[in-house]
Symmetry: C2
Subunit: 174 residues, 2 copies
DNA sequence: CATTATTTTCAATTATTTCCGAAAATTGAG
DNA sequence: CTCAATTTTCGGAAATAATTGAAAATAATG
């Protein structure tokens, strides 16, 4: 009976890892990275590089690169066990924290560069006096305004505590 | 003097198209699609497939596929000029509308599938009575709760009118 | 210092996605 | 119906991204 429960858990967990990995693709995150995150999010204990390699059947290089990337994002922490030499990794499991970390990263990668582009184009077209030039500049200006807005919103959301977000959402959804 | 202004505009516009296209990659949108969108967003008149092909120096197949995709997203409209046979395309230029369209699409592609996965895993692990099973189920449950929340938020935002969003943002940012 | 465990790098391979170009299908006009 | 304009499809080429596997670098141990 104990074995059966363990099997079912293992199966559910593998399903989660596989699907979460597949979804990572949609999210613009590579499959391995999403799988490692899923694996560690549902691990009882921190895992070493070798354990991750074995669990997901991936190469050392791949495991290493993606573990480091996840640490850089702030979705994993490297921990050391006393008397042990190698590093273990444990995942951030709080969903709200995961969300704010991802939001911050996405803002950095998606919004900030857009702002630069749009600012530059708005600037370059400021003094073009033809009707087409004015229209273009106005379009860039509106885009810039919106991106600035989005940027500030993203910052705010990323800073929010869970409780406050819920409170705000209540107003919004109520 | 007129020529100079036109040149500067053309240059600024090409820069915008190139950069917006490069950014599309980051956004998980293919480069051509983003370029076409940028091209039409800054076009005074609707453009035909052939005009798009020529402006961006891309093949017919590529132009066609991405124009259709943009129409499917709701970022372009196909229009017909009276007495003309071919289709022309014009872009949605209102930035808020662009945003809500993209938000809707992203929700559909990123949030909805995640909800399914997480629901299934939560369901499958509901009755596993081991401590590990309970922990896994609890993790899935929290994830599900969050994704439902995100889903509802995304729906609300996608439905918002510009004015309301601004108003809400004022509270949030104030 | 020499040895060994571990992490990091990287060139080569493999997989995935995007794009081309030409053929096939469709549509409207005469 | 016939013809020409236009759209759509699709197999494979080209470009991009992910992954491997093994060697190099680093760090702890005795």
């Amino acid at each position: 009976m104990k074995l059966k429960a363990d099997d079912r858990l293992e199966q559910a967990r593998e399903e989660f890892i596989a699907q979460w990995g597949a979804m990572g693709t949609q999210w613009g995150i590579n499959r391995t990275m999403a799988q490692i995150h899923a694996l560690l999010m549902t691990a009882a204990e921190p895992m070493s590089t070798d354990e991750v390699m074995e669990a997901l059947e991936i190469s050392r290089g791949n495991a290493h690169a993606n573990l480091k990337e996840l640490v850089a994002w702030g979705l994993l922490r490297a921990v050391v066990r006393k008397g042990e030499r190698r590093e273990y990794f444990e995942a951030e499991k709080d969903v709200w924290r995961i969300f704010t970390v991802v939001a911050r990263e996405r803002k950095r990668r998606e919004i900030d560069p857009a702002l630069e582009v749009v600012r530059k184009c708005a600037e370059e077209s400021r003094e073009i006096a033809t009707p087409e030039g004015r229209a273009f500049h106005e379009q860039m200006r509106q885009l810039e305004e919106f991106v600035v807005f989005a940027s500030r919103m993203a910052d705010r959301v990323a800073m929010m505590k869970h409780g406050f977000a819920i409170q705000m959402a209540a107003k919004l959804l109520g």
